[in-house]
């Protein structure tokens, strides 16, 4: 494999809570190659969502990322997202000062701004809340298209938007084009969100628990949709989930997180085949998945 598209080194994330400082991500490292699907598996609170938000420069809260580095490679250029982090965070009585935290969050956001969408974009859980409630689905897909394909005129954008809605397997793309989020089911909202994200033509798609809260059959459809859309391996994906079967089904490689650390890293094939020595936590997840299949 050539140099990875995304590499994360020793990422540390902390938050202040009422019970004091809590370390939610404790020095994790991983890489994502071109055209690769990396599954991140973990139960809620394992730090998987917040680490992927950090990769996108979207972590908010106090103080957030306190150490480590995220490197994004865009063609020949590469960008170190948290470069100079230690220099910016001033500590007062051992705690990062609130004002400085804001300053570095602005700095990261400025660095990341040209890369959002272009380099990577995301779909989240709660698809209904991911769409602007006041705009039709069509307008929101077109907003992405306008950014990705600047040469298209209005009619062209409209045609492309309907095309995307068709590609995410909407049964009536024309109707969905005119619909608002509150008029669609959760599954349809997630498809619409996937269309909005992919129409932006990102090199990396971050899918953060995209099936959580959906019905079982709809979940299978969404997973199938991801499989189809990524079949050509032209983009990479970070697929975050707590469901080991989804992760195994979609990913090339899998990392398993627990309590803010990576406890396991393996190819999906090895995991499926049961090859090699496993961390006890991974083993229990696999056993649970087998039980699920047996039922």
């Amino acid at each position: 494999m050539t140099a990875p598209l995304l590499s994360v080194r020793g990422l540390v994330i902390e938050f202040d809570t009422a019970q004091g400082r809590r370390r939610v991500v404790d020095g994790i490292s991983f890489e994502l190659g071109e055209g690769e699907v990396l599954g991140i598996l973990g139960e809620s609170g394992s730090g998987k969502t917040v680490s992927t938000l950090a990769v996108m420069g979207l972590v908010e809260g106090n103080p957030g990322v306190v150490g480590g580095e995220v490197t994004l490679r865009n063609g020949a250029e590469s960008l170190a997202l948290f470069e100079g982090l230690e220099g910016v965070i001033k500590r007062r009585a051992g705690k990062p000062d609130r004002k400085n935290v804001r300053r570095w969050q602005r700095m990261v956001s400025r660095r990341m701004r040209p890369l959002w969408g272009e380099m990577m974009t995301a779909v989240f859980q709660n698809p209904r809340h991911s769409l602007d409630p006041l705009l039709t689905i069509g307008v929101q897909v077109e907003e992405s298209i306008a950014l990705a394909e600047r040469s298209l005129d209005r009619a062209g954008r409209r045609a492309r938007a309907v095309e995307w809605l068709d590609r995410v397997q909407m049964s009536d793309p024309e109707r969905v084009y005119r619909s608002y989020a509150h008029e669609l089911s959760g599954g349809m909202c997630q498809r619409a969100m996937i269309a909005v994200a992919l129409a932006r033509a990102p090199r990396i798609l971050v899918a953060d628990e995209p099936t959580t809260g959906l019905d079982t059959t709809v979940r299978a459809e969404i997973v199938g949709l991801f499989e189809d859309l990524l079949a050509d391996r032209r983009r990479s994906m970070l697929y975050i989930s707590h469901d080991i079967r989804e992760v195994l089904h979609l990913s090339d490689r899998v990392i398993v997180m627990r309590h803010g650390r990576i406890v396991e890293e393996a190819t999906a094939e090895d995991l499926r085949a049961g090859r090699g020595e496993r961390d006890p936590y991974t083993a229990s997840l696999l056993a649970a998945a087998e039980l699920g299949e047996a039922l």
Binding site: M56, L58, E60, R98, R113, P114, L115, W116, G117, E118, M120, T121, A122, V123, F124, N126, H129, S130, L131, D132, P133, L134, L135, E143, S144, L147, R178, Y180, H182, E183, M193, V196, A197, R200, P202, V206
Partner: protein, 324 residues
């Protein structure tokens, strides 16, 4: 398509507002009938000649039972006939006196609310999320703005007098020739001070500012805004559009409060608006005038909230779906 449910929703709202207007006018009418003893004597000023009393009784249907009396009165009021002023401006029709005054009042209240919106939104954007330092700052501000509008107005009126005596009358203040509007104008000045008194009083501004800041904060943290950022699009348009709905609701929800404080503030600054007329007419027991103005105030609140509802329904598709 979308137009049909929208029109249906609009008609439903319109009918609801008409119902409210009828109900509110009924309450106002029944309040008149509550007058102790002989209603006509109770509501007419001292020394009213008998023929005027008879006319009053006819106008308000006091010679009939409450229900038919109400409808007779409603039929006349519906076409804007609230009778003639007795004391405040004897012989003139109530509407002829009340409407021009009311226009000034609506202008003053509307501009005050608008100024509150602009200032509040500007401050909310500038200050961002509340930190510990701002809590320290907002506590005294909270105390200050808890002051009732009439106390603020009394203080402001004092301040205005002092300002006029100290500067303007000494010739210390002159409008530079290039400035298009007069900085000091005898007729404008009290309105400006009155507007700021209403803005600062009754916690109007502080409450509005807190609401706006909370709305802005929750919007900024909304998942769909994160999604918009993640795809590299500008969030400003999305935030602004989604802010319109709470702003409209806030505007129409605060109007009754402002139309209340405007009454006293106008009186203190002796601005010849509807509030001033209302109080003067009320002291003189100029009954047709007071009733006519009460109906006007109430109707304004109903109409503005109807407009706010309709605009909201145009912007927010969920409003139509909710239908309520």
């Amino acid at each position: 398509m979308r137009a049909v449910p929208l029109i249906l929703a609009a008609l439903r709202r319109l009918a609801g507002s008409a119902g409210l207007l009828i109900g509110a006018s009924f309450i106002i009418y029944m309040t008149v009938r509550l007058a102790p003893g002989d209603a006509v004597d109770a509501i007419s000023p001292m020394g009213t000649p008998p023929e005027v009393k008879a006319q009053l009784a006819a106008e308000f249907g006091l010679d009939r039972d409450p229900v038919t009396g109400y409808f007779a009165w409603l039929a006349r009021s519906a076409v804007g006939d609230f009778g003639e002023s007795l004391v405040f401006s004897p012989g003139e029709s109530v509407m002829a006196v009340a409407l021009p005054a009311f226009k000034r009042t609506v202008l003053l209240s509307g501009l005050t609310l608008l100024a509150a919106l602009v200032l509040g939104l500007g401050l909310a954007i500038l200050l961002g999320e509340p930190g510990p330092r701002q809590q320290v700052l907002t506590a005294p501000a909270y105390v200050l703005t808890a002051a009732p509008s009439f106390v603020v107005a009394v203080l402001f009126a004092q301040g205005m007098n002092w300002f006029v005596q100290a500067f303007v009358e000494q010739g210390g203040y002159e409008t530079p020739p290039w400035f298009p509007i007069p900085i000091y104008s005898e007729s404008l000045m009290p309105y400006v001070f009155a507007g700021f008194a209403m803005l600062a009083g009754d916690g109007l501004f502080m409450d509005w500012f807190n609401t706006l800041r909370a709305e802005l904060l929750s919007l900024k943290q909304a998942q769909f805004i994160t999604a918009v950022r993640a795809k590299g699009a500008r969030t400003v348009g999305h935030i602004a559009r989604n802010l319109v709905v709470p702003v409209l609701s806030g505007f129409s929800a605060r109007l009754p409060l402002v139309l209340g404080s405007v009454v006293i503030v106008e009186y203190i600054f002796t601005l010849d608006g509807a509030g001033y007329v209302l109080l003067e007419a009320s002291r003189a027991r100029d009954f047709p005038m007071v009733v006519g103005l009460s109906v006007l105030f109430t109707a304004t609140i109903i109409v503005v909230s109807l407009i706010a509802d309709l605009v909201r329904a145009l912007i927010d598709p969920r409003e139509v779906a909710r239908g309520g």
